[in-house]
């Protein structure tokens, strides 16, 4: 016999609330951007951009969840939390989402590996674009090699984040 208080048991005929369905992905991405509030005084760009990782995970996991403009508000929030100039993630994330839409038109049948490849391209584009924006807005002469380690472990972290997103997604759609 199953004690309903021990495990979360989905019940027939119940639907999750609209807020849970629509709000969970947005809130998780914002929490990812909010991770820069952790009390770590970093000496180099070491922390992976978790906001971007979660955005890509949700986008590739649930293609019909968002329109491409979702990159604008979420990117603005990320810009406010990270030290990047305002508008940087706004434009880069939206362009990345539009690019993913275009790829989706070409590659109809995709598997998990192609998704990882797409995410890797998007991560490289966003981090390199962020570096470029930081450089032109008074950041001085920043070398590309400085962000290479961050790119590598952000790409390596993607499968883990997708897995966690899928876990959250299962909770999201079950009442």
């Amino acid at each position: 016999m199953i004690d309903p208080h021990l495990h979360h048991v989905p019940r027939l005929g119940r639907h999750p609330s609209r807020f849970r369905l629509a709000g969970t992905p947005v809130i998780t991405v914002m929490l990812g951007s909010f991770l820069t509030a952790l009390p770590v005084i970093a000496q180099s760009p070491v922390m992976p951009p978790f906001g971007l990782l979660l955005l890509l995970s949700w986008r590739l996991l649930r293609p019909d969840l968002w329109r491409t403009w979702i990159g604008l508000p979420l990117g603005l929030f990320d810009d406010m939390m990270s030290g990047q100039p305002i508008g940087s993630a706004m434009s880069l994330w939206t362009v990345a989402l539009i690019g993913i839409d275009m790829i989706e038109h070409r590659m109809v049948w995709r598997s998990y590996r192609q998704d990882w490849l797409i995410a890797a391209l998007a991560i490289i584009f966003c981090i390199a674009g962020g570096l470029f924006f930081a450089r032109i807005t008074g950041g001085g002469n920043v070398r590309f090699l400085l962000v290479a380690p961050q790119m590598v472990w952000t790409i390596l972290l993607f499968p883990f984040v997708v897995r966690q997103c899928a876990r959250i997604d299962r909770w999201r759609v079950m009442a």
């Binding site: 820069t36 030290g83 990047q84 508008g87 939206t94 989706e104 008074g138 001085g140 070398r143 400085l146």
Partner: protein, 304 residues
């Protein structure tokens, strides 16, 4: 995985228009974002007001977390100290013996200084310090090196003020919001600090490299005068930083450039001190003598 349905509206006109409109909004928004970045090229701190909301939300969270983990950050140091405890203990004891005499001498010199200053009627009012606060977070994902300070405009912090720790220079205030502010760290690639070598006053310029080290270029002609072990302090040129704040120690010289490591690690320091900009502290109008002398002149004029 097959192509999702929402991106393939079929013959449904309404769905087609909705999809098209979403792309129009996205492209327009991306262009607007680019425009904001272009504005930031000319005015890097222009939209700092937008950050107030997130800064106010983030501050209590960071503060609470900081209180929890302040012991964890120095864990590696504690472990490293255990490693060579015996030999280190002996070496440190010898160091203390050697330093004791120096300290006594220094105390004597300080006292003599005080006495001489009294003789000269010099009052050394060092009112450059604004407040002491803690660094609570940083831009860990960005290539820029900012740290968030737990004090802002309402506490008297203004952009451009130098920030230091007892060990050395940390950076200067970049943006000040009501209750917190962003500190441009010494290691940021846009932070340029005029420095000098302590023993012979060779002027140089320190620029951050973004990876926790700084690049030092001498302002003198000829070959690179720096060698590993050289200590650099601020020279006071430019009017932002007070002179003689420790900045960095040179670790490597290569061609015309020397590489240094900052003396104060922002991740380790407990509290930092925000100071007034040097020029402001020097030229601040004090209780001036002119009224006295004017009276004197008037008296002199009246008596004859």
């Amino acid at each position: 995985m097959a192509r999702p349905t929402s991106r393939r509206p079929g013959i449904n006109r309404k769905a087609q228009y909705s999809l098209f409109a979403s792309y129009v909004v996205a492209v327009t928004g991306a262009a607007a974002g680019l425009l904001l970045v272009v504005v930031a090229i000319f005015d890097p701190t222009g939209f700092s007001a937008i950050r107030i909301a997130t800064a106010e939300i983030g501050r209590p969270v960071s503060m609470a977390l900081k209180g929890m983990v302040s012991g964890v950050s120095s864990l590696d140091e504690v472990l490293a100290a255990y490693w060579r405890a015996g030999s280190q203990n002996v070496a440190l004891r010898r160091q203390v013996e050697a330093d004791r005499n120096r300290i006594i001498e220094a105390k004597g010199v300080a006292q003599e200084n005080l006495r001489l200053k009294k003789l000269l009627k010099l009052v050394d009012a060092d009112a450059s310090q604004v407040l002491t606060a803690r660094l609570i977070a940083s831009s860990a994902t960005s290539t820029r090196r900012f740290a968030r300070l737990n004090a802002g405009r309402w506490q008297g912090v203004r952009p451009g003020m130098p920030v230091r720790a007892p060990e050395g220079l940390i950076g200067r205030i970049h943006i000040a919001t009501p209750n917190s502010s962003d500190v441009l760290l010494l290691t940021d690639t846009s932070n340029i600090v005029p420095v000098r070598r302590t023993n012979d006053n060779i002027p140089a310029i320190s620029t951050g490299l973004g990876d926790g080290t700084v690049e030092i270029r001498a302002l003198t002609a000829g070959r690179n005068p720096f060698k590993p072990g050289d200590l650099l302090v601020t020279s006071g040129i430019g009017g932002v930083y007070q002179p003689n704040i420790p900045v960095a120690v040179v670790v490597r010289a290569q061609g015309e450039i020397a590489y240094g490591v900052p003396l104060a690690n922002p991740g380790r320091v407990d509290a930092v001190v925000v100071e007034r900009a040097f020029e402001e502290a020097v030229t601040r109008p004090g209780p001036a003598a002119p009224p006295m002398s004017e009276e004197g002149v008037a008296d002199n004029g009246a008596t004859p």
